[in-house]
């Protein structure tokens, strides 16, 4: 097997990296893929609670890297999908406990067993981000339709390009269409135009995301949720399927126009 390493990053904190990692992991596993999600935010462990696996942790990423356990011992199997695993972050260490070459080595051994290795990057552009970027075959940048998140995303996209890991793919998270319509939120089209990288998903703002996170049950498991369906579509696109864009706003064909921009752009 020759698994693909996908790093989920954003620059700014709080835009939805962990939520996206958890949902893409679940979605890909539900498509029958073997997936491991790695929480690389050492010292600020979070992916375990979002996935609802916090009570199963024995060993963590740093234990595996420093040889206190074998790699499979640090891989927690999901309760819902037996092809989904989590490698949790260490909680009592910091980013310097791991180096970019440690991450490359770790991912190289995981590639043999897995279809997908999804790395949840910490916020920022420092060591933790470098660790998450080093093994990546593909980089997904998450942003929100908001000035500071878009600016930080642009910075990260530049760094990914400089490391010759580009072009990154874009997910715009928490779009509120009624705010876009009344002109008080930058549209997905505008964000794509500003950042000028290919887009792989648009996720609407949806209360169901918080509710499902409260339960440790990622929203992609909820078929009624629009955000959940968006995450499922992103996973299918990653998996090479040609998924049509959700018509979130049928009246003026917003997503049709967006589709044209994407296919016409670079």
């Amino acid at each position: 097997m020759n698994g693909k390493v996908v790093t989920i990053t954003s620059g700014k904190g709080g835009v939805g990296k962990t939520t996206t990692t958890a949902n893409l992991g679940i979605a890909l596993a539900s498509l029958g893929q073997k997936v491991v999600c790695i929480d690389s935010d050492i010292g600020l462990r979070n992916l375990d609670v979002v996935l609802g696996l916090e009570n199963r942790i024995v060993y963590d990423l740093v234990d595996a890297i420093e040889g206190r356990c074998r790699l499979p011992q640090a891989m927690i199997r999901d309760k819902r999908f037996e092809t989904l695993f989590l490698i949790p972050a260490a909680q009592t260490r910091d980013k310097t406990a791991v180096s970019p070459s440690d991450m490359v080595k770790l991912c190289d051994s995981l590639r043999e067993e897995m279809d997908w290795i999804i790395i949840d990057s910490p916020a920022g552009i420092e060591r933790g981000f470098r660790n998450a970027l080093a093994p990546a075959d593909e980089v997904i940048v998450i942003t929100n339709p908001e000035v500071s998140a878009v600016r930080d995303a642009d910075r990260i996209i530049g760094l990914v390009e400089a490391e010759e890991k580009g072009p990154a793919k874009l997910i715009i998270n928490r779009i509120n269409l009624s705010m876009v319509k009344r002109g008080d939120m930058i549209s997905a089209e505008d964000v794509v135009e500003l950042l000028a990288i290919p887009i792989i998903g648009i996720v609407p703002e949806d209360e169901a995301v918080l509710v499902s996170t409260n339960h440790g049950h990622p929203v992609v498991l909820n078929e009624k949720s629009r955000a959940g369906r968006s995450f499922m579509n992103i996973a299918a696109r990653l998996n090479g399927e040609d998924v049509p864009w959700l018509e979130l706003d049928e009246k003026n064909g917003f997503f049709n126009r967006l589709g044209k921009i994407i296919s016409g752009g670079s």
Partner: protein, 86 residues
């Protein structure tokens, strides 16, 4: 008609447009590491150097950064003065 006009002006003043304009400028400067101040000084020095070789219209000279995707290009528009008849 009045309501349409109202809608148009409302759109123009809506905060999303402002956000987009501000982001457009800030991203250019982030990507090029060139502040508006530095750009002005570049323009002044450019005018100085070019004036050593050819007469130009300094007031009409424009210099700006254009964006195409993620590429930035420095565009200078420097009108030449027609040579004086001696």
């Amino acid at each position: 008609m009045a309501s349409l006009f109202g809608k148009l002006t409302e759109k123009k003043h809506a905060s999303a447009n402002r956000a987009k304009e501000r982001l457009h400028l800030v991203l250019i400067h982030d990507r090029t590491d060139l502040s508006p101040e530095a750009l002005r000084s570049l323009k002044d020095r450019l005018i100085e150097v070019i004036s050593d070789y050819v007469q130009i219209d300094a007031n009409q000279t424009e210099i700006q950064i254009e964006t195409d995707g993620r590429e930035q290009t420095l565009i200078a528009n420097i009108p030449l003065k027609s040579p004086r008849v001696r």
